[in-house]
């Protein structure tokens, strides 16, 4: 008798299971039909890093070219070039009064000592991100002393080749500033 009761109980468990799937059948669907709709939480998505402009000058990033981000990047995907203007650098002989400047390149692992602090002003020439190797850890953004880096929110980045993911972040910043100014002007 106990076996029979057990059997009936077991068989009933199948009915219970079918009840669950039967109810779920009529519940609303959870799928977001992608091309027509998008998920609504992309605001918190952490994309690749992007330069942040100064408050007073949308064309210039806050970056002080200290190289901490370059040094911290585990994948070595950041590199930047800069030149120094001002004191301490010899003026080039001749020329039409134009400054000719030595360009310095900061590559991953190239920083051995803290960057010089002088009155000489450093100018960023390019800030390259090789997004192919980026693992989106966020160490560059979090360790930036002047908050010159932020995460972009681009979740739908596509491209046809690896070269398309080698970004010049400075150019991106300028392009963005130009387009937003264009919008303002219009």
């Amino acid at each position: 008798m106990a076996t029979l009761g057990q059997t009936i109980k077991s068989l009933w468990s199948m009915v219970v299971g079918m009840k669950v799937t039967g109810i779920e059948f009529f519940k609303p669907k959870l799928t977001v039909h992608y091309p027509r709709k998008e998920v609504d939480n992309l605001g918190t998505y952490r994309g690749h890093c992007d330069l942040v402009a100064r408050e007073d000058d949308p064309l210039t990033p806050k970056c002080i070219m200290c190289g901490i981000c370059v040094d911290n990047c585990p994948s070595g995907c950041l590199s930047l070039t800069m030149h120094v203007v001002g004191e301490g650098k010899p003026r080039p002989a001749g020329g039409a009064g134009e400054l000719m400047l030595a360009q310095e390149v900061i590559l991953p692992g190239s920083i051995k000592k803290a960057p010089p602090t002088g009155k000489a002003e450093r100018v960023l020439d390019s800030f390259r991100l090789n997004y192919n190797y980026c693992s989106l850890c966020g160490l560059c953004v979090q360790n930036c002393p002047v908050s010159s880096l932020a995460w972009s929110r681009e979740a739908y980045l596509v491209g046809r080749s690896r070269q398309e993911f080698e970004f010049d972040l400075l150019a991106r910043l300028r392009a963005k500033a130009a387009s937003s100014q264009g919008v303002k002007a219009a």
Binding site: E24, L30, S135
Partner: protein
């Protein structure tokens, strides 16, 4: 089998080695389960010798997804190694985050603010729920039920949405930092989390109705793969696998790290040590994790989420340190030897899946093929964690 009859397909070293040492009398079938097989969940390969449908001998072959994580630890600075931790066990990334971050903090004597500790508890437990949910679905997939994994994913998706708010990513989190966490949790995070917990608690009975009580599932799990405590000890099994066999060993309880000693939670254990017990333990752990998160949310103190007095560069004194946390699959241990340079001299990762897989060979002996799959699923293996 003669080579000619094999049409020139003689198998690689492992198959040949297995064939020459196998126990059968020639009437057996050597079968490669994997590296591409639906129920090895990744690139695990198990060479099995079948007598009919009975597994005479099984031998896991590892190394298909070895990524040299430990060696990478030696060539990267302490900070640079952080993102690797999310990739060791991608399903419980925050557990590994914590183990490594905790080890470095212990090595360098970095203080962690209390708020950060609570945030770590909340996010790590949330990650544990998502890991167990995925295991739940994948295990049932192994047993041939296709629907539960989609239901599990509906909840897991919400967890990922919540975790994305603070971590910015959905799977391979890199959220913890030496001395705290990388971002504070906000009002929206807390309200969303509370809403999720309430909804999730209401959903667990549905899981039980659909699956736990089901006659077929019980037939596939009860008394299958009975794992004696003594065998767990020999292989160093930890986590739900060990607790399923009735040993209430939980790092959170026995070597309380962080603020776990301030939180009230049970350590669920099984009785018989069969697949059903391991199943029950994991489902019960999800409920306990919900409890822990609720308490942690109530106790969440104000304050900084990152230690404000961190050194500029993380260069510890020479020394060694071991730090372990309770991951979703068992005890996660990180052992670091420092020689005073910016990079670890040696870094060893103790991954629970490796130990748990090791006992599969012995546990699956003499079972049916279907049972062996059930046993493998009940061990909750994450293959990248095994190879590291």
């Amino acid at each position: 089998m003669a080579l000619e009859a094999n049409y020139g397909m003689v198998g690689d070293f492992y198959t040949q080695n297995f064939t020459t040492t196998h126990t059968g009398d020639g009437d057996t079938l050597i079968l490669n389960l994997g590296p591409q097989h639906p129920s090895t969940h990744g690139v695990l390969r198990v060479v099995v010798e079948l007598d009919g449908e009975y597994v005479k001998k099984a031998e896991p072959v590892l190394g298909y997804i070895h990524r040299m994580h430990e060696k990478m630890g030696e060539v990267k600075t302490y900070l640079q190694y952080l993102p690797n931790m999310g990739r060791v066990d991608y399903l419980h990334a925050l557990g590994w985050n914590w183990a490594y971050v905790g080890a470095v903090e212990k090595l360098m004597g970095i203080e962690v603010p209390e708020r950060a500790e609570f945030i770590r508890v909340i996010t790590c437990e949330l990650n544990r729920i998502s890991s167990h949910l995925l295991w739940w679905g994948a295990y049932l997939l192994d047993l041939g039920a296709f629907t539960p994994i989609l239901y599990a994913f509906a909840d897991r998706e919400r967890i990922m949405d919540i975790l994305q708010m603070v971590t910015g990513s959905r799977l391979t989190y890199c959220y913890y930092r030496f001395g705290g966490v990388s971002a504070d949790i906000g009002e929206k995070f807390i309200s969303d989390l509370r809403a999720f917990l309430a909804q999730f608690k209401a959903r667990i009975p549905m899981f039980h109705e659909l699956v736990t009580g089901n006659m077929i599932l019980r037939g596939r799990c009860v008394d299958i793969g009975v794992l004696p405590v003594e065998m767990c000890r020999r292989y160093g099994a930890t986590g739900p696998v060990l607790r399923g066999s009735g040993v209430a060993y939980d790092v959170r309880r026995f070597e309380p790290y962080s603020v776990y000693d301030q939180l009230d939670f049970d350590v669920p254990v099984g009785k018989a040590g069969d697949a059903m017990d391991r199943y029950d333990v994991r489902v019960a752990e999800m409920v306990q994790s919900v409890r822990i998160i609720e308490q942690a949310l109530d106790k969440l103190p104000e304050g900084p989420f990152l230690n404000p007095d961190l050194p500029d560069r993380f260069i510890p004194e020479p020394g060694e340190v071991y730090y372990s946390v309770e991951g979703a699959r068992g005890k996660i241990g990180v052992y670091i030897v420092s020689d005073g340079s910016p990079k670890p001299y040696r870094l060893k990762l103790r991954s629970p899946s490796f130990s748990n897989l090791s006992l599969f060979a012995e546990l699956s002996q003499g079972t049916l093929l279907g049972d062996a799959i059930s046993i493998m699923g009940s061990l909750d293996l994450v293959i990248p964690e095994i190879d590291r």
